[in-house]
């Protein structure tokens, strides 16, 4: 047995298990903070997967954006709202049960579909060797600013809209309240 393949397999199963367990933690943890931390673990595990998949730049981006920005945002909001411990399970028991059953069904169906599939022989020109010869970041950057320029620009507009929207939504009502006056001072 190939040693490299063994290590690859080991790393994959290790991080796969970590990802699944952490994901379950997100579902199960009653405290939002713990859910958030479990989610951070999932993000990290996926970053490892990206490295396994020869996408180091994505791995870094994953850590920076998800584990860094998104998760921190979550934690901030949790801190601001300071919610009670969450009750797991939907309003009706029946609904929770149905949800679990159908989620499992979904998983089984997805796995059945994916496991039975075979991937076509590779045809792309971005072989690992080719990417390595140029540099991963450079390849992605070139693609983003050439072939995918329009989606890239649209995504940036989307971000702008999201920023404005978030500010509008989260802003306090401009009622001349005693409290808001004090805030202004």
């Amino acid at each position: 047995m190939d040693y490299g393949a063994f290590v690859e397999g080991l790393v994959f199963y290790l991080f796969a298990a970590l990802a699944v367990l952490a994901a379950l933690g997100v579902v199960i943890a009653r405290s939002p903070v713990r859910s958030a931390l479990a989610l951070a673990l999932v993000f990290l595990a996926l970053a490892a997967m990206y490295i396994l998949l020869n996408a180091p730049f994505l791995a870094v981006a994953q850590i920076m954006i998800y584990a860094g920005a998104v998760l921190i945002l979550f934690l901030f909001v949790i801190m601001v709202l300071n919610p009670r411990l969450d009750i797991i399970g939907a309003r009706g028991r029946g609904q929770t049960f149905v949800a679990i059953v159908f989620t499992i069904a979904l998983g089984v169906l997805l796995i059945a579909t994916l496991a039975s599939g075979q991937i076509a022989p590779t045809t792309g020109k971005f072989t690992p060797e080719f990417v390595a010869s140029i540099g991963h970041v450079q390849v992605i950057g070139t693609l983003l600013f050439s072939e995918f320029l329009l989606p890239f620009e649209i995504a940036s507009v989307l971000l702008l809209i999201a920023i404005v929207g978030a500010m509008t939504l989260a802003r306090r009502e401009r009622v001349p309240h005693a409290e808001s006056k004090r805030d202004l001072r």
């Binding site: 309003r91 609904q95 949800a99 159908f102 989620t103 069904a105 979904l106 169906l109 997805l110 579909t113």
Partner: protein, 664 residues
């Protein structure tokens, strides 16, 4: 001068439109005199048009004028077109002169009569529209345009009979129960619809037979295509006659006319004298070519005419309401006209129509003057002695009454005599005898009405308060006491003009032993009647008989009501069944009620409550309820919880994926 026939109906229409649109804003006097002015203008145009007509040689006396094509279908041989076109020949000339002339006088009278009425604009609008419709009817050059006027007349009569739609019973100072104006208007309209249905079918049959509705095409074709007695023509004329019985109040459809008294009195005068009821007579006379081809129909017309004349006269004997006496006399006189038409004496029928227009308008307007003076009380049992209070009304009314009863040398005498002579010479002796008898009855009830209203001692007291059954009914008078007075000049002048007409209108149609029948000669190009040659002895005899009938009737009435006042009561006691039969109008209303109206209403109710209410409405409601229930059930799914929707989405996704995978 170019022909301006269209102006004749257009002027009253213009007046109607003005009163409809701005009448309410105009001062009362302006609104009402506008209506009179437009009628008078129409009369002027009519006179000039007739003058143009008379200037032509007798055989060419037809003026035609086409305004525009109304309905045009197809081209070439199979085309069919109806024009808005007018046709003036001696027959329609007589009609337009009567309609506009008598109509103008009635309008003028109405100015005075309706002086207290708040809704004057609506009144004069409908009056002018009425005249417009009638003028369209008599000037039309085809049956469809005639039908337009025919229906317009029906609508206007509805509007005017129901003019006081907010009152329930107009009877004043009496306990008699009459139909409310609303119901009377509806009755008139519905009964007329039955006749109109026949008329419509007749027109359709005519179109089917001849492919045309214009007089100029139908009449020659009819004479070309059909022998005398052809079944198609018989059916067609019978259907048209059914229309005439509706409009002209003949058996079996006469019941609406007496109730039409619920309208204001000028309306009654207009309906009875100028417009509306003469429409049927005119239509039959206009279609004389067709009727001449259908002897069966003519016999039916004659029998119906005489029967109506007789039955209406007997009912008129026992009426207590002055206007109703006059109403039944109209029915009776129209019966005479149809009798004349039925024996082929079209000219005589139209002659009677013309004289009748004068004296009947006069009588109605006189009765209206009485109502005006007596706070709307019109029950003859409570009148009497009015000759001293209202001399002009009395004398003019007397002239009208003599004309109606056929007193020698008054207009009605000549026309009625001509009809009876025609009836005798046509060989229908039975009908003639009934006609003479009716003449006697006519004289009797007319004089009775005059005596009860104007003669004897007053059966009312100065200052007495008469109570209306409906609190609105004493319109404009309130609870003021009786203070009878002569009507104002605006009302008496029409009375006097009409009295002149009632006196002298008969002299245009003298019997041959006395002079020339100018009227008959004038109409001769239209009807082409063969002059009936009868010996002067026979003619004198017939004149003597009708004179005798009139005089006997008048004499009996004088005996009964001036001298021995007990006789009528005794007769009533001796023959109670006869009195009941007549005062209940042969129970025709009741019979119709039980045989037609109630089953009809029952059927309509059944359709309303069961078919429409339960089945159709039930289906509609049920459908609605079904959707509502389904919606109600589905509504619980829309519980507003976003997670529920997410779950539904998930279930959907799973099912779709499952289906995709399971597919081979």
């Amino acid at each position: 001068m170019p022909l301006m026939l269209w102006l004749i109906p257009a002027l009253p229409l213009l007046g109607a439109i003005i009163n409809l649109l701005v009448g309410r804003r105009l001062p009362r006097a302006l609104s009402s005199w506008l209506a009179v002015a437009f009628m008078a203008a129409a009369f002027g145009v009519a006179v000039s048009a007739v003058a143009n007509l008379v200037a032509l040689p007798p055989e060419e006396r037809v003026l035609r004028e086409t305004l525009y094509e109304w309905i045009g279908v197809g081209v070439g041989a199979n085309s069919f077109s109806v024009n808005v076109a007018f046709w003036l020949d001696p027959l329609s000339a007589v009609m337009i002169l009567v309609v506009t002339g008598v109509g103008t006088l009635i309008h003028m009278y109405a100015v005075g009569y309706m002086e207290h009425e708040k809704d004057y604009a609506r009144f004069f609008f409908a009056m002018n529209l009425f005249a417009f419709a009638m003028l369209m009817l008599v000037l039309a050059d085809n049956y469809l345009l005639m039908f337009l006027g025919w229906e317009g007349v029906g609508v206007c009569s509805y509007l005017l009979i129901g003019f006081w739609y907010d009152r329930d019973n107009l009877a004043v100072g009496t306990d008699e129960k009459f139909l409310s104006p609303r119901s009377s208007a509806t009755k008139a309209f519905v009964v007329n619809r039955i006749g109109d249905f026949g008329f419509t079918l007749g027109i359709i049959l005519m179109f089917w037979t001849f492919g045309s509705l214009s007089f100029a095409e139908v009449f020659p074709k009819a004479e070309e295509m059909f022998q005398i007695g052809a079944p198609v023509i018989t059916v067609m004329t019978l259907l048209l006659f059914l229309g005439a019985t509706g409009k002209s109040a003949q058996i079996p459809l006469f019941i609406w006319l007496p109730d039409a008294m619920a309208g204001p009195t000028p309306v009654s005068a207009l309906i009875h004298a100028a417009t509306m009821v003469t429409a049927g007579v005119y239509m039959v006379a206009r279609s004389h070519v067709l009727y001449s081809l259908a002897p069966t129909t003519l016999t039916v017309v004659a029998i119906i005419g005489v029967l109506t004349a007789f039955i209406a006269a007997t009912i008129a004997l026992v009426q207590n309401d002055l206007k109703r006496v006059l109403a039944y006399s109209t029915v009776s006189q129209l019966g005479y006209m149809f009798f004349a038409l039925g024996v082929g004496a079209f000219g005589a029928g139209i002659f009677h129509l013309m004289t009748h227009a004068f004296f009947k308008a006069l009588l109605f307007l006189g009765a209206g003057a009485v109502m005006h003076a007596m706070n709307d009380m019109i029950d003859m049992r409570r009148l009497g002695g009015l000759r001293k209070v209202m001399p002009i009304t009395f004398w003019t009314f007397l002239i009208g009454a003599f004309a109606l009863s056929g007193f020698p040398l008054f207009s009605g005498f000549f026309s009625k005599d001509e009809i009876l002579t025609a009836g005798f010479t046509s060989g229908n002796i039975v009908l003639w005898v009934v006609g003479v008898l009716t003449a006697l009855l006519t004289a009797f009830y007319t004089v009775r009405a005059v005596i009860l209203t104007f003669g004897g001692k007053p059966r009312w007291k100065e200052g007495e308060v008469v109570h209306a059954q409906d609190e609105h009914a004493a319109h404009g008078h309130g609870e003021r006491g009786l203070h009878p007075h002569e009507a104002s000049p605006v009302m008496t002048i029409p009375l006097m003009v009409l009295a002149l007409g009632a006196l002298f209108a008969g002299y245009v149609g003298l019997p041959s032993v006395l002079g020339a029948n100018l009227f008959g000669q004038f109409l001769e190009p239209v009807f082409r009647e063969p002059a009936v040659e009868i010996s002067p002895t026979l003619e004198w005899t017939l004149i003597g008989i009708s004179t005798a009938a009139a005089l006997i009737g008048i004499f009996i009435a004088l005996r009964f009501y001036l001298g021995d006042r007990e006789t009528p009561q005794r007769l009533t006691r001796y023959y109670p069944w006869l009195y009941r039969l007549w005062s209940n109008k042969y129970w025709v209303d009741q019979i119709y009620d039980y045989v037609i109206a109630r089953p009809g209403r029952w059927l309509a109710n059944a359709f309303w409550t069961d078919v429409d209410g339960k089945i159709i409405n039930g289906a509609a409601d049920g459908l609605g309820r079904a959707f509502r229930n389904v919606g109600q059930a589905l509504r619980s799914l829309q519980d507003g919880y976003a997670r529920g929707y997410a779950l539904a989405m998930l279930i959907g996704i799973v099912v779709v994926i499952a289906i995709v995978i399971m597919r081979p």
